[in-house]
Subunit: 242 residues, 2 copies
């Protein structure tokens, strides 16, 4: 039976892939993905066939996988982080209805909320919300509502896709919403290029964060009212007595 693996490659470095993801890519004939991600794995799997489509052509990319699988090839479609968090898993399952003979298996990866948190310290140790600021597929009003809800319930917030060329002020707008519920001194962090060249992280107050430029390779963390800095790390206490 033709089979496609939907593989999360983690933040970017080979070492941060799961053993299962690495073994899966090894056994595949074709690796499909956005070029930024195929470029990351290609040095480790130089003998594979690689296929790609531009951004916004995600559905075409998925159909390409099924077409290759129907030719008898074993296919992996790769996503950065995990395929189930703003990744391709849903689109693959949806398009899979048109290819009932193709088996799908998702192979997990470490999503940016988790890898970025480890770089910064331990910001997500307590209840948190993961929200994407991209309004390409979600109305901005819905995003605003979710930001407000998370902030008023004092949840840590992890923001994916905090900015892009067309949405340069979205992080500012998100910060202004959150400032309606919490202190401008709230501890925040940015993780950039996690697991890749140029990996870095930085800590800021919420008031500072609103004016800091970020890009599509940044993941932003906004602490809850308890989040503090311990030895230069962003830490949300769980409540243990030490």
């Amino acid at each position: 039976m033709p089979k496609i693996y939907i593989v999360g490659i983690g933040p970017g470095s080979y070492e941060q892939m799961t053993i299962k993801a690495a073994r899966t890519l090894e056994l595949c004939d074709v690796i499909v993905g956005y070029h930024v991600y195929t470029d990351l794995v290609m040095p480790h799997y130089p003998d594979k066939e690689y296929l790609s489509t531009p951004m916004t052509k995600e559905a075409d990319r998925c159909r390409m996988c099924f077409e290759e699988a129907m030719k008898g090839k074993t296919v992996a479609i790769i996503c950065s982080g995990d395929a189930g968090v703003y990744g391709m898993a849903e689109l693959m399952l949806g398009i899979g209805r048109d290819y009932p003979d193709v088996l799908l298996e998702t192979v997990c990866g470490v999503t940016a909320a988790v890898s970025g948190a480890a770089l910064l310290g331990a910001p997500l140790i307590q209840d948190f919300a993961v929200i994407s600021l991209s309004d390409r597929l979600t109305p901005w009003e819905k995003i605003e509502k979710r930001i407000r809800a998370a902030a008023q319930a004092d949840m840590v917030i992890c923001l994916y896709n905090p900015s892009s060329r067309a949405r340069h002020d979205y992080l500012q707008r998100a910060c202004d919403l959150i400032l309606g519920f919490t202190s401008g001194e709230t501890v925040c962090g940015i993780a950039e290029n996690i697991g890749r060249a140029g990996e870095s992280c930085s800590l800021h107050t919420l008031r500072e964060l609103r004016d800091i430029p970020v890009n599509m390779f940044s993941t932003v963390f906004i602490g809850n009212s308890q989040t503090c800095i311990i030895n230069g790390k962003m830490v949300t206490p769980r409540g243990y007595r030490l």
Copy 2:
């Protein structure tokens, strides 16, 4: 300089560890962890020294790591999933203030929200909240507030620690809160024993979920208003046009 690695081992199977986690455990002298987790890795690293403390003795477990490191041993403390999501990373950083000569490094793992989502389909493809129902360290009122906030903002909700012997009706209470904001037909899922013996998952309506017994090895997913079932899988559409 003495060093301790804070390692997330993922859901449980060796293959779902990251390559970095596997290499880190290989190079350590001592592996410290709750016995359920040390039992999982022991067959793969039989020659290591293992140390443990019972549940509720987490701070003692952490101090044990620092004491071993000060003896000159390389130490790993392991958590299931990721150490930064309801794990030991925060406690280690906090206690680390008393041991300024010990270096700490967090090695990421796949947390149950991600691994459970992959088993069930793709429920977390859109904005979501991760909330623990354990009130051992968080007042129940705060947990309720967060559940309400996430539900009213139509976020997918992933519940950790949905039940225990002392808290057998907490999932029911959470479902009743969410039923105040959304349909009883909302698609929900339970992932159990992810990556371990007895791994299973099941789909339910929200109305059904409230009466289903779960345990401390269950992770519960409550869909948003768009979440649907595709070929037996729980899928939250992101909004792509197919």
